[in-house]
Symmetry: C2
Subunit: 464 residues, 2 copies
Amino acid sequence: MTPLFPDEPRGISVSTAIPGPRSEALRLRHAAVQDARTVHFYQHARKSRGNYIVDVDGNTILDLYGHIACVPLGYNHPDLLDAWRGGRFDWAAGYRPALGIAPPAEWVGIVEGALSRVAPRGLPNLMTVTTGSEAVENAIKTAFVRLARRRRNGAAPSPEDLALTMLNRQPHTNDMKVISFEGAFHGRSLGSLSATRSKAIHKLDFPAFEWPVVAFPANRFPLDENAAYNREAEARSLDQVTALLDADPQIAAVIIEPIQGEGGDRHASAAFFQGLRRITSEREVTLIVDEVQTGAGGTGTFWAHEAWDLPEPPDIVTFSKKMQLGGYYFRPELFPAEPWRIFNTFLGDPLRGAQLEVIIEVIERDDLLGNVVRTGKTLVRELTSLVGRYPGLLSSARGVGTYAAIDVRDPATRDRMVKALQQLGVESGGSGDRSIRFRPALVFEDRHVHEAIDRFDAVAKVLA
Amino acid sequence: MTPLFPDEPRGISVSTAIPGPRSEALRLRHAAVQDARTVHFYQHARKSRGNYIVDVDGNTILDLYGHIACVPLGYNHPDLLDAWRGGRFDWAAGYRPALGIAPPAEWVGIVEGALSRVAPRGLPNLMTVTTGSEAVENAIKTAFVRLARRRRNGAAPSPEDLALTMLNRQPHTNDMKVISFEGAFHGRSLGSLSATRSKAIHKLDFPAFEWPVVAFPANRFPLDENAAYNREAEARSLDQVTALLDADPQIAAVIIEPIQGEGGDRHASAAFFQGLRRITSEREVTLIVDEVQTGAGGTGTFWAHEAWDLPEPPDIVTFSKKMQLGGYYFRPELFPAEPWRIFNTFLGDPLRGAQLEVIIEVIERDDLLGNVVRTGKTLVRELTSLVGRYPGLLSSARGVGTYAAIDVRDPATRDRMVKALQQLGVESGGSGDRSIRFRPALVFEDRHVHEAIDRFDAVAKVLA
């Protein structure tokens, strides 16, 4: 079979510790200016290819992590490089525009073309920004505008309201709220961080809005053996949401990830999300589905929420990461009545948007979603088999498409496992306290699964 | 004299209304997906050159606004295009990395090279992000970490603190505060927006932290005729800051722009900023100088605060706009003790950073700061003369470098003036209620000043 990515390296090849001496030398230089403690290694950007990172020490590393789920086509996909070299992006080479003031004509083509082709069903409108956190901030703001408009019932704000606004003391506004779920990650700016519930270290010492949090159902795997438990957990979570919404008319939005990405790859059923849509819809509360990590194909559909067969679409779907720029799609009725309410200087980056256009074309032409579905089946099957071989060490193999994870015995062992895999040339990352997550590129194929599982097996033998 | 920008258009040339029919046709298409109400016109990106925008209707427009102060070298500077075509950015062409996880080796070179050469004196450390708002959010977070560390006196947070953190109810944290100034603009995400005080429409319906606001001195021009008034206004403002800091140990930071950019081009004296530095320094309160709009040369020094001769540096200086990516420089003692406290996925954009490296090289080689100082003198002199010719219409010509403004009789006339200038081929923008701001590129020269003033004069004749 022809590989989806031509001329990839033959496979993993490791000749130094990872990070190696050249990475550590770079880290020393880097750390004189920036925080370099979080860096896994330094990458040789041009030599990296497809699913393989080449680091500055010459190691060829199979990438399951994708720069925290940001690499849709692998490294240096020929279509991206051809577009670059062929001049397709030249209109974006000579300055960075404010897209809300004087956008280049080409931007309109991208927006009405590729970006509209991948719009979630029922959400034809689009706001572009630069990051996932900024996407969430503006999605939440859109929900607040909607609630305030309904409450004012079409009336203009009074002069007194406007004066108090400038003092951060608007009546009935500072206690508007967003519900999020235990384990959620929605970003790190102070608004989005108030909805983030993944780890205390992300939130410690930062003022937060006192918004409510509800239990995420936290499904047990395998799903068929735990159906009754999971159904009950999901019902309890929905009951909590309902109770909060009925008690507090100041709740503007409910925000949720299709699969909790930082919180430990926690899944919920389609029925749960259908219920959440029903509850919020009946009460005209904005449902924000945060697809920053799940969006752009990793689950086998372009958007993870497509798999839920919702009675009606979410109100807002946020994105970033694999999409290369941030933003959100939304229902037409959420369009703010006045311009400038939801606005900023850059409103995204047309150059990253132009690259995204190419990425979407390749996803369509090469049926990369079909590949993700096929590879995902192999991946979850192999992870399940791995768990079967090391039952004291590993558990809860799970995944939708190649958006997959396993749990490890305890947090310390998980960290050791990630480190050991790294030494064998496999780049992975944790999620939650004791999961290892898979966020490979959409060109991840069966042979990469087998190469990865081979290394997992070798490490598990030692740690079991 | 050789022009700083080769082969610019000879001058303004207008053949349609602005926006013209092609712009309006694009707006219709654009508006089907995005909010296009704020768009001035659609730009022909490749034909635009130097200080001149070419729009899709073929008009050649002199640009005083620079996409809200985002265009350092004008449009399609040959050095930027040569670097692009010559392959200098090819390492950044094939994927978008998470810079905190596996940065390309080239990133270290940019950070320790150009980005360190322009570091403000005393602030060798750097955090990069993508936008000004994100820069401010993280600068504020850094100040909160500092205050909390001092309050905990080296002790670790208790398990109870960490548990309450996950509920957004940390003791002594939600009432930590940032002081900002009336008229300030620091961004639109919910944290930075709580410090923004420019216009009610930016803040209406969005929950805000109840942080204090103090008067900005609002200097009267000309400065020499109003010296006593201004001194008193500045003293009152500093007294307010002092009183707040002494009354409330929960104030973590004071944030201020060197010149209020959105708030109406409001200036204060070096003595005022020296006083602010003294007051905050004595109380170990973090002083954040927000140079998102003033940074990167528009005032004739790379950073506007360099002109103040401060007794010691600010603690943090934020940037974005002309810098092409966001970020902030900070003092080494503000480096968080733990990694991951201040972090996000992208941590900026290496491609925009690579372009910035070229931009900084051109600024240095062509002495563009010297040009800004020279042109700025001409500009303010000509604006002053214009005000003298139309005293009932115009007032308060002011500027540092080419970061300049004039006031117009009233808001409605200001808006008419901006529109009329646009029809004559001059792109400008308002600031505050009734100012017109100049934020030209660093290659703006005397002949561009004269061309602009000629159009201002023509419009003023009609409106006076």
